[in-house]
């Protein structure tokens, strides 16, 4: 099954991004295809290359980047990111418009939204 995921909240502040990550990992383990991951609203902060969490904490941006390195299409909304100053993305993440969210949603069999 092709699954798209939309994430609307930033990392650390809310659990939403953690839930999305665990869900995506489980979906991959069950053999599904992730059609795409779209970061919207404050979600764009998830893939900020400048984050330096404490060493004993999970590194959210690196998690997303690692997923992107496996070929999963990961997009942060460029309009939302510009507004919020999240302009330096980790590797394997694209900055693009809402059209990507539209395409993912239309092409996937399922859309799952995470947020606050």
């Amino acid at each position: 099954m092709k699954i798209a995921v939309c994430i609307g909240e930033g990392p650390y502040n809310h659990e939403a991004a953690d839930s999305a990550y665990h869900f995506i990992r489980a979906a991959l383990d069950r053999g599904h295809q992730i059609q795409g991951i779209f970061f919207y609203h404050d979600g764009v902060h998830n893939v900020n290359a400048l984050m330096e969490p404490p060493q004993d904490e999970r590194h959210m941006a690196n998690r997303w980047s690692a997923l992107g390195a496996t070929g999963i299409h990961i997009v942060a909304c460029v309009t939302a990111a510009k507004r919020r100053g999240a302009m330096e993305q980790v590797a394997h993440v694209e900055l693009a418009g809402l059209g990507q969210l539209a395409m993912m949603t239309i092409q996937a069999d399922r859309l799952v939204c995470f947020g606050d």
């Binding site: 939403a16 383990d29 069950r30 939204c113 995470f114 947020g115």
Partner: protein, 97 residues
């Protein structure tokens, strides 16, 4: 339809709002702070029991453990992220954010 609820019922009306839109065959998944609704002996037991009479209710085990919710309202089914995926395979999703 799979309805995901991630807010505490004690400070948000999300679960009660969601309940108004449930149809036969739907499923509710409680996750994040939403799992606080599972606790027995609270102000909102009747709300949860009313939902359980109409549809299946699941709660994410990892979120229950994080919050030390161990005494669950009978009928709520504990699941994991793989179970969440399985529910998504079977249903379209509406997230009550």
């Amino acid at each position: 339809m799979l309805h995901t609820v991630n807010k505490s019922p004690f400070q948000h009306t999300t679960l009660a709002d969601c309940a108004r839109f449930l149809r036969s065959g739907d499923v509710v998944l409680l996750l994040e702070d939403g799992v606080l609704a599972c606790q027995v002996g609270t102000l909102h037991v009747a709300l949860v029991e009313g939902i359980l009479q109409r549809v299946a209710v699941y709660a994410l085990g990892a979120d229950l453990k994080a919050r030390a919710i161990t005494e669950l309202i009978p009928g709520i089914q504990v699941t994991d992220y793989a179970g969440f995926v399985s529910l998504v395979e079977q249903h379209k999703v509406h997230a009550w954010l």
